[in-house]
Symmetry: C2
Subunit: 361 residues, 2 copies
C-alpha cells in the first residue's frame, strides 16, 4: 500500500535516496576512517556543495553535529557573554530563548504580534545584544519570518551576531545570507534524509568573537564543539569526534543532485505545491489555514486548524496513502501540519490537496 | 575485490547489516515521527535489549546522542561541581580529563605505570572526587583496564560517581556494571554500525546527583542534554531532540541478533580471534605487540609496533583485501592497529593473522 510521508520532518526520503544508499554500502563508505584522505575529500566536497546550493559565502565555516538543537546551545556559548535577543513566535524560537536562559545569559524576548509578524518597533529601547536569534521557519506553527525583517534587524544592530535557524526552510529559502553570521539546519526536512545530522555555517566574524570569548574572557564555549575546536578540525577537513560519515556521504550525493536541478527550479516547485496545499486547506470543509497573514505563511510547513478533531483527518489521509502530522504540542488535537519539501512530488501534493479540499472521505 | 575493514572503528559492518538496512527502508522507519507510538516502542525495546545484552541493571536510564565525545562533556557537567579524578593511559582518557579542565573542574589525573597498568596506590592522598572517569579500553594504544582495578576504585571511593568509557569494548566486555554509574559507547565499533549514534547508561544515583547540581547548586548541566531533560523525555520513551531514528532501529535489530548468539559465545569468539592476532604479531618479522603486559592488553584493539614503517604494512594488507589502521596521533608511522569486533569473522581474522605472521608480501 502507498504510504507517502507529508510530515514536517522526519519526512519522505529524497527520491534517489535508495540509489545513494546502495552505493554507500557497496563502496563501504561507512567503514572508512574519519581521519583518512577519503573522508577529508568528502568533507571538503560537501562544504563546497552546501554553500553553493544554499548561497552561503565561501569564507564561512561549515560544522557538523547530530542535531540542530545542539547548535542552539553552541551558538549561545560561542557568540555571547551576557546579552542575547530573541524573536519568539513558536516552540523552536522559544527553545532557543530558553537555552540562552539556561546558559545564564540575560536573554530578552520579543513576541510576534497578533498577526504573527515581528516588528522592529517592538524591540525594547536601549538594548545592545551581542547575539540575536531568529527562527526563519517555525515548524511548530507554520509561520515564516520575512526577509525584510531580517534586513531591518541587521540595520538596527550592525555589530551583533545574528543566528538564523533554517531547520525546516533549507535549502529552498532564498535569503541574503551574508546578512547573518550563523545559519543551521537538519537533514530530515528539506533534504529528505533520515535524522541524525545537522549543519552549521559560521561567518569569520562569529568565529573571531568566539575566540575572544574563549581565550580572553575565559567563557566556556563547548570543549570539543567550541567553534575553536570545530575550526581546528575543519582546517584539516575533519571533525573533532567521529561524525555521521554515512549521513555526510548521503547528504553530499543529494546536494549534488539538487545542484543539477538548481535551487531556483526547486524554489518554484515548492511555491507551486504550497499554493496547491494552501488553496486546499482554504477551501476545505474540514480545516482552515492557521496562519491568516499571508505575508508570514511558511511555504514548507502548512498548518491548518481543524474544525472537528485532527485524529480523524490524519486517519482518513492515511487510508488514502498520505501520512500527515498532528499539531505541535498543545495543538496536537486541533491542528494538522503538512510538510512541503523537495522530496514531495507535485502529483502527490496535488492528490493530497484534492483529498483535503474535497473533505477526504 | 575483497575489502574487509579490520580497522578500530568505524570498522566492518555487522554481517546482517544490509538485511536490517533494507527492511528499515522498506518499512519507511526513517520517516516516522519521533513523537509517535511507533518510535516510543522502538525506544523502549532498544533500552531493554541493550541492558540485557551488556548486563546493565534494569533501573539505569538509557540516553542517546550523536557521539561518545558528547557524553564526556555531559557526564562531567551532570556529576561534578568541583572535583574529578581521571586515570589517563591514552588519548581518550586524556580527552576526558581535558574536558573536565575545560569545564573548570579541578581535575586530577593519575597516569598509568611503565607497564601500562594503573595502581590504586598511585592516587594522591586526601582526594574526595565527586566523579571518577575510567576508559575501559583505550582505542589509541590497545590497553585495557582490569576489572579488579575498577573494583579497587569503587572500594576506595564508595560514594563517588564512576563513569566508564566502553566505547571500543562494548558489547563484549564482561564487567560488574552495577559497580559503576555511567557507562557509554558508540555503535561504530563493537556493534558494526555506521558512526553517528552513542548510548549512555546512567544509574539512579547519578541522576539524583545531577538533579541536585542543577536545581540546588544552579550548575549548568547541559540544557536539552542535561540528565534532567534526557530523563524527562526518556519517561515518555522519547528523546529531547530528533534523534538518529535510523541508527536506533538498526542497533535494535543488531542487538536482538546478538542476544540470539548470546554474549558468552560472542566473548569467547573475541578471545579466540584476539589470541590468533596477538600470536601473529608476536611471531611476525614485521611487528611486535605494543602492550607487553599481557594483563592489560585489549582484546578488541590490537596494537603493534612496526619495525620499519606502518605505511608499507597497511598497503600490503590492503593488497590482500584487509584494511587495518595506522597508529594513533604521533604513532601514525610506527604502529598499526587491528580491530577485533563481533563483525569480524574468525576465518578472516585467521587469514589476516597468517599474513602478518608470514611477513605478508
Amino acid at each position: 500500500m502507498k504510504q507517502i510521508y507529508f510530515t514536517v520532518g522526519p519526512s519522505e526520503l529524497y527520491p534517489k535516496f535508495r540509489i545513494f544508499l546502495d552505493a554507500a554500502i557497496d563502496n563501504k563508505i561507512v567503514s572508512i576512517s574519519h581521519r583518512g584522505q577519503q573522508f577529508a575529500e568528502l568533507h571538503k566536497d560537501l562544504g563546497v556543495h552546501l554553500k553553493q546550493l544554499i548561497g552561503i559565502p565561501e569564507e564561512y565555516s561549515v560544522f557538523y553535529s547530530g542535531s540542530a538543537t545542539e547548535w542552539m546551545e553552541r551558538i549561545i556559548q560561542n557568540c555571547s557573554e551576557v546579552h542575547t535577543l530573541h524573536f519568539t513566535g513558536g516552540a523552536f524560537s522559544k527553545r532557543f530563548y530558553e537555552t540562552a536562559n539556561a546558559l545564564g545569559r540575560h536573554a530578552v524576548s520579543v513576541n510576534s504580534r497578533t498577526d504573527q509578524s515581528f516588528c522592529i518597533e517592538d524591540i525594547p529601547s536601549g538594548l545592545t545584544p551581542e547575539l540575536i536569534c531568529l527562527t526563519h521557519n517555525e515548524t511548530s506553527n507554520g509561520t515564516m519570518i520575512q526577509e525584510s525583517f531580517i534586513k531591518n534587524v541587521r540595520d538596527k544592530f550592525p555589530k551583533a551576531i545574528i543566528a538564523l535557524d533554517v531547520v525546516s526552510s533549507a535549502p529552498t529559502c532564498s535569503l541574503d545570507f551574508p546578512l547573518v553570521d550563523c545559519v543551521f539546519f537538519s537533514v530530515q526536512k528539506g533534504f529528505g534524509m533520515p535524522a541524525g545530522l545537522s549543519v552549521l555555517f559560521v561567518s569569520p566574524r562569529a568565529i573571531e568573537i568566539s575566540l575572544i570569548l574563549e581565550k580572553e574572557r575565559s567563557i566556556y564555549t563547548g570543549s570539543y564543539h567550541s567553534f575553536a575546536s570545530l575550526l581546528e578540525y575543519e582546517k584539516k577537513n575533519q571533525t573533532p569526534e567521529t561524525p555521521n560519515v554515512f549521513g555526510m556521504y548521503l547528504l553530499n550525493e543529494i546536494v549534488k543532485d539538487m545542484l543539477v536541478t538548481g535551487k531556483e527550479a526547486m524554489c518554484r516547485e515548492i511555491l507551486l505545491k504550497a499554493k496547491l496545499l494552501y488553496d486546499a486547506v482554504s477551501n476545505s470543509p474540514l480545516v482552515i489555514p492557521c496562519v491568516e497573514n499571508i505575508a508570514v505563511r511558511s511555504q514548507t510547513v502548512i498548518v491548518a486548524n481543524v474544525k472537528t478533531g485532527s485524529k480523524e483527518i490524519i486517519q482518513a489521509c492515511k487510508a488514502h496513502g498520505f501520512i500527515i502530522a498532528s499539531g505541535y504540542g498543545s495543538h496536537k488535537e486541533d491542528q494538522i501540519r503538512i510538510g512541503n519539501f523537495p522530496s514531495h512530488m507535485r502529483a502527490d501534493a496535488a492528490e493530497l490537496a484534492s483529498l483535503i479540499q474535497g473533505g477526504i472521505f
